[in-house]
């Protein structure tokens, strides 16, 4: 019961954090992955109040938002001095900082942690930038295995009009740092196509739950909630001494 029940005893992706004492993690880690412009944040904003109504405390964490490194990453991006290696290492450092200071404490306290992107974002981006995929994965051996990983699936053709009509194409999301094309529109398509390819490869490697992101916001949300409820019910069912009135509806 103290173990993360659904991992067959395995909690960590690799070596974990050898210097940290293993503690029970009664919370749940739910990850939402997708490329840019798919509506990930909107979905997360909708999940939170729903879960809170169901009686769960919710904590959010987002990519490159660590207090230790977010400023450094932004500065470095502005200065164009990053290489694929330093990029990858900075992502890993940002992730480790949030893992140890936000995610693990929240899970210990029994929160549902919703992660807006997780290590898979690094795997996709690093690989597209030219890093060895095996090396990228090794960097993240400290990672906790999430309970659920949703992949919001969309193809470039559907993505392009959404982004153009939405917040527009930015330098990094268009992969301009890779010099794929001098035209930002073309570069965006080529870069995002490659990123999406990498995500698709990871569906089996990591057992993502693929959600069709071409649907409406409501459709996607319903789908997410269905999977999350299933998971939470199973988790409750597996707990010892779970009383019937614990069932939530």
């Amino acid at each position: 019961m103290n173990n993360h029940y659904n991992h067959n005893g395995r909690r960590w992706y690799g070596y974990g954090l050898p210097y940290v004492k293993e503690k029970p993690l009664p919370g749940h880690l739910i990850v939402i992955e997708s490329t840019d412009g798919v509506g990930r944040s909107t979905q997360i904003e909708l999940l939170r109040p729903w879960l809170e109504l169901e009686g769960f405390a919710v904590s959010n964490t987002g990519w490159t938002r660590s207090p230790l490194l977010s400023a450094t990453i932004n500065e470095a991006k502005a200065g164009h001095q990053l290489t694929v290696t330093t990029f990858s290492l900075l992502y890993a450092a940002d992730f480790a900082d949030r893992l140890e200071h936000e995610i693990l404490p929240a899970l210990q306290a029994g929160f549902i942690v919703i992660a807006d992107r997780y290590m898979y974002t690094a795997f996709a981006r690093n690989t597209v930038m030219g890093a060895d995929p095996a090396w990228s994965r090794e960097l993240f051996q400290m990672a906790l295995i999430p309970d659920l990983v949703f992949y919001l699936d969309i193809e470039v053709e559907t993505l392009v009009p959404r982004v153009v009509q939405g917040k527009g194409m930015d330098y990094w999301e268009s992969g301009m740092h890779l010099a794929l094309d001098t035209d930002i529109f073309e570069s965006f398509k080529r870069y995002q196509r490659r990123i999406i390819e990498e995500y698709k490869r990871m569906v089996d490697e990591f057992g993502f739950i693929t959600i069709n992101a071409r649907g409406s916001i409501d459709e996607i949300q319903t789908e997410l909630r269905r999977h999350i409820l299933d998971h939470l019910r199973t988790a409750r069912g597996l707990k010892e001494n779970a009383s019937p009135e614990d069932e939530f509806e």
Partner: protein, 274 residues
């Protein structure tokens, strides 16, 4: 590091025999096998015309002093020298300062920030001069991470993976010194030991000098193992400074055998100043 995404991908880290791979989505995360034995650039000579010479050892071992003397000697003999020092890149300076001051660093982030520093210097300060036929002098190299970060508690296999892009130096000299000697030198030079240098973050003792003893003893033990694993050359760092320098210059001469001396390109003096 391979830039070939297509081919690189198939050689991933999956271990298919993992029983967890059978159950459900979360179980699909295949275990990463111990990558210690994997092809390591640190185990074979680099192909470039320059020379890479590194010094290693705990604080107060005298390695920096000896490296400066070596640099003077090499430059006086007309060799093009480039000097680079651990934890000196501007890229992570602010994060490192903030992390240390506010005590935000964990063993893992401490390790990764130093890896960013190293990777940045490797790209801009080590590789190009090495390719251009210069003599690169490195004050600390990846072995510092292998020793210190593991003493802080990270997995030895993980930290080796992190640095798997690093090239093997032509010569790495390890300055072996007893704890008491290093302590004496440090305390004579400045009144207080630095927080992380003393390993205070590890929590072995609340008393800095005692913490330094305990933490750096661990580091020394690991260094001894590293000398075997990576063939580091040992200097007994308790000897007279000129005697040590004589031994070092002899080691360097061996490494310079066959070196195709490039014309010393202009004024490289400033690269020696930290």
């Amino acid at each position: 590091m391979s830039s070939n995404n297509e081919n690189g991908f198939e050689t991933g880290v999956g271990v298919n025999s993992d029983p967890a791979a059978e159950i459900g989505h979360a179980g699909a995360h295949r275990a990463i096998s111990d990558s210690l034995a994997k092809q390591s650039l640190l185990k074979s000579p680099h192909p470039f015309p320059g020379r890479l010479i590194a010094v290693e050892g705990i604080d107060g071992s005298g390695k920096s002093t000896q490296l400066q003397l070596l640099a003077r000697w090499l430059r006086a003999r007309g060799y093009p020298v480039h000097f680079t020092e651990w934890n000196s890149s501007r890229l992570v300076r602010n994060a490192m300062r903030r992390g240390k001051r506010k005590n935000l660093l964990t063993p893992t982030t401490f390790s990764l920030l130093h890896a960013v520093d190293f990777a940045d210097r490797f790209t801009y300060q080590i590789l190009p001069p090495l390719k251009g036929g210069m003599i690169v002098l490195a004050d600390r190299y990846v072995y510092t991470a292998f020793a210190r970060d593991v003493a802080r508690g990270v997995h030895p296999g993980w930290v080796r993976s992190v640095y798997n892009f690093a090239l093997r130096p032509d010569l790495t000299i390890y300055f072996r010194v007893p704890i008491e000697v290093s302590l004496e030198r440090l305390l004579a030079g400045r009144a207080k030991l630095k927080y992380h240098e003393a390993g205070m973050d590890v929590g072995l003792s609340v008393e800095p000098v005692e913490s330094f003893r305990l933490f750096q003893s661990r580091v020394l033990e690991i260094y001894d193992e590293l000398t075997l694993e990576y063939g580091l050359r040992i200097i007994q760092a308790t000897g007279e400074i000129p005697n040590q320098q004589r031994v070092i210059r002899k080691m360097v001469q061996e490494v310079l055998r066959g070196y195709d001396r490039q014309p010393a390109s202009g004024d490289d003096e400033q690269s020696l100043q930290p």
